[in-house]
């Protein structure tokens, strides 16, 4: 089971993802914005990162670029969508261009999350 860092500014979604991952036996760490996420990565060295794109302080694109620059093989899953994301598809395309291992458009099911995590971890 993997150590997973979830970065999302929406608390409800964060909690939902945590519940899903915990049920699957993963160890879950949570951050509420990009800056906290990057700090969390350096502190806990997780196996996988799930990050939202549109966030305050440091957005998901910046997080992906920063972490992949220093850790090119780090598995990252980008998630986007929800209330304000009229460009969710574009954001996920962008994340994919930057080299993330998986993308997921909100809202998503538990099964979709499991599949994309397995693919990202190469299981």
């Amino acid at each position: 089971m993997a150590k997973i860092l979830v970065i999302d500014d929406e608390e409800q979604l964060r909690d939902l993802i945590k519940k899903m991952l915990t049920r699957d036996g993963h160890q879950v760490l949570m951050a509420q914005d990009g800056e906290e996420g990057v700090r969390g990565f350096h502190q806990f060295n997780p196996d996988l990162i799930i990050t939202d794109i549109i966030m305050p302080n440091k957005d998901g694109i910046e997080v992906i670029m920063e972490l992949l620059k220093s850790h090119p093989d780090l598995p990252i899953i980008a998630i986007s969508g929800g209330r304000r994301a009229i460009t969710a598809g574009f954001n996920l395309d962008s994340a994919e261009m930057l080299g993330v291992k998986g993308i997921l458009q909100k809202p998503f099911t538990h099964q979709q999350l499991q599949e994309v995590i397995q693919k990202a971890l190469g299981l």
Binding site: D59, I61, M65, R84, T87, G89, F90, D93, M97, L98
Partner: protein, 539 residues
């Protein structure tokens, strides 16, 4: 050239055949000699024969081998235009060598029989004599150790036997000396034959080299050998470099293809990405912007309405005031009418009283007075009705104005409550736009960096092609120098000059080339170790 190669091959083949036959014969000869001698139980001399024969064979073989080497070199270095003539000469040389070998073989066969016969006779006699002596020594030893016989007699017997044995040994030694002499003679003959052959060869070589310099043959051959060696060394060095260049070029081409494929993929990805971003997201953003513009127009209208309110209010108030003024002035007129009606009524009453006093004469006047009074009353009634109507009109105007104003206010208040929603939507749209462009620029920037990296890799490889060109140029240079030196040497062959200077220059050319290449050899490997950024260093 092909003819020369063919002739060389044929020559080599026949030379080797000859060499192997003669060597084989010599081996058989020595073997037969050893086998023959070893059949006798005779220690002294049996290896000497073999030794002599071996020595003879060795000298013979070495001389043959040397001749073969010299002949091969001679053939190799002949100018192309003399190939046929020289091949004929060489055939002649080898015919001579063949004849010499046949002579040698005949001599060997003959002398070998003589050796064997002489050797057999004397070695048997010697063997017998030594056998008798040996028996006598044994007998004498037994007599001495056991003291069972006449010792003096035994000593005499021993002395006789020893004397006989000594004589046999002397005879054998004489024979050995004869054999030795025969061998010496044979060796001398071989040496003479060799000298003869050498002399013939020298003569032939001189004939062969009539068109070539009449320099000392050994020195000439040694120089030719050195030059050929250097020539081959340069060819080997060039060949090594060509192999490296070929391998490196192949690797570079593969790498270039791989890089171009990456570059193409990256470029295709970014084009697809931008195209998608334009098609899907820009239309969304445009629609969003359109909505935002509509919101802005709505807000503008609302602001205009707010600005319009005081003017409208003022106009409304002025209209009300004006209407009220008109109504008031009309009210005054009504009062005037009422006053006129009242005065008319009093006048009519007075006229009626005066008409009654006049009696019959005033009867008609009384009728007029009554009618005037009725008119006054009617006028008053009419004035009251006008007054009532004006009052109603004033109320109606005021009420109407009041309701219209409130509706406007209500409408405008509703618009104001919408403004907050519009502003929020506009702000969201703006944030989305900002995020969109920020992301777009970040991704394009990242991809451009990747493309720049790919392009620099390609440039690096293209630069490598320049390195290959320079390597080939260096090869061309060394070949030109080498050929120049070889031409000089060819020219010098017709004169008596030494090729020492040319050999030195050729050696320097080789060393300079090897030294130069050692600085550039690992350019591809060095490039791998470095960062991918192109280095436009000239090699």
């Amino acid at each position: 050239m092909a003819v020369q190669s063919k002739n060389n091959a044929e020559f080599k083949k026949s030379a080797w055949r000859f060499f192997l036959i003669s060597t084989g014969f010599a081996v058989v000869l020595v073997g037969v000699s050893i086998v023959f001698h070893s059949t006798l139980n005779f220690r002294l001399g049996r290896y000497e024969d073999a030794l002599f024969l071996g020595l003879a064979w060795g000298v013979f073989s070495v001389s043959q081998w040397r001749l073969l080497r010299l002949s091969q070199k001679t053939v190799k270095l002949l100018p192309e235009d003399q190939v046929d003539a020289n091949n004929a000469t060489l055939r002649y040389i080898f015919n001579r060598i063949s004849a010499y070998v046949q002579d040698n073989l005949a001599f060997n066969n003959k002398s070998n029989v003589d050796f064997s016969a002489a050797s057999d006779k004397h070695t048997i006699a010697l063997s017998k004599a030594i056998g008798v002596l040996n028996t006598q020594i044994t007998h004498l030893t037994e007599t001495l150790t056991q003291h069972n016989g006449d010792i003096d007699q035994e000593f005499h017997l021993f002395d006789d036997v020893a004397t006989q044995t000594a004589q046999t040994i002397t005879q054998y030694l004489t024979l050995s000396a004869d054999i030795d002499n025969a061998l010496r003679e044979r060796i001398t003959q071989i040496a003479t034959s060799l000298d003869d052959l050498k002399s013939k060869l020298n003569t032939l070589n001189r004939k062969q080299h009539e068109a070539l310099p009449s320099v000392d043959n050994t020195q000439n051959l040694r120089e030719i050998e050195d030059i050929v060696y250097l020539h081959l060394s340069i060819d080997n060095a060039i060949d090594e470099q060509l192999k490296v260049i070929s391998y490196d070029t192949h690797q570079s081409a593969l790498m270039l293809l791989d890089l171009m494929r990456h570059l193409s993929d990256d470029a295709e990805s970014i084009v697809k990405y931008i195209s998608n971003a334009n098609e899907k997201n820009i239309s969304k953003m445009e629609s969003d912007m359109e909505n935002s513009v509509k919101f802005i127009i709505s807000i503008e209208k609302f602001i205009q309405n707010i600005q319009e309110i005081p003017d409208k209010l003022r106009a409304d108030i002025a209209a009300i005031q004006s209407a009220s003024g008109v109504i008031d002035s009309l009210a005054h007129l009504v009062d005037s009418i009422k006053e006129i009606s009242f005065q008319t009524d009093i006048l009519a009453v007075n006229a009626a009283i005066q008409a009654a006093h006049a009696g019959e004469a005033g009867l008609g006047f009384k009728i007029v007075a009554d009618e005037v009074r009725k008119l006054a009353v009617n006028s008053n009634n009419a004035a009251e009705m006008i007054e009532s109507g004006l009052e109603k009109a004033r109320h109606t105007i005021q009420d109407g104005l009041k309701f219209k104003f409130l509706d406007e206010i209500m409408l405008q208040m509703n618009g104001a409550s919408q403004v907050m929603i519009y502003v929020q939507q506009l702000q969201d749209s703006q944030e989305d736009m900002q995020q969109y462009y920020k992301t777009l620029f970040a991704v394009i920037n990242q991809n451009n960096t990747k493309l720049a990296h790919d392009i620099s890799e390609v440039l690096g490889n293209i630069q490598y092609e320049d390195v290959v060109r320079q390597r080939v140029e260096r090869i061309q240079e060394v070949m030109v120098m080498r050929n120049d030196l070889l031409r000089q040497f060819a020219a010098q062959l017709t004169s008596d000059g030494s090729a020492e200077e040319i050999i030195m220059q050729l050696n320097n050319t080789l060393n300079d080339y090897l030294s130069g290449e050692s600085h550039h050899n690992n350019s591809l490997q060095a490039k791998d170790d470095e960062d991918a950024l192109p280095k436009f260093e000239l090699f």
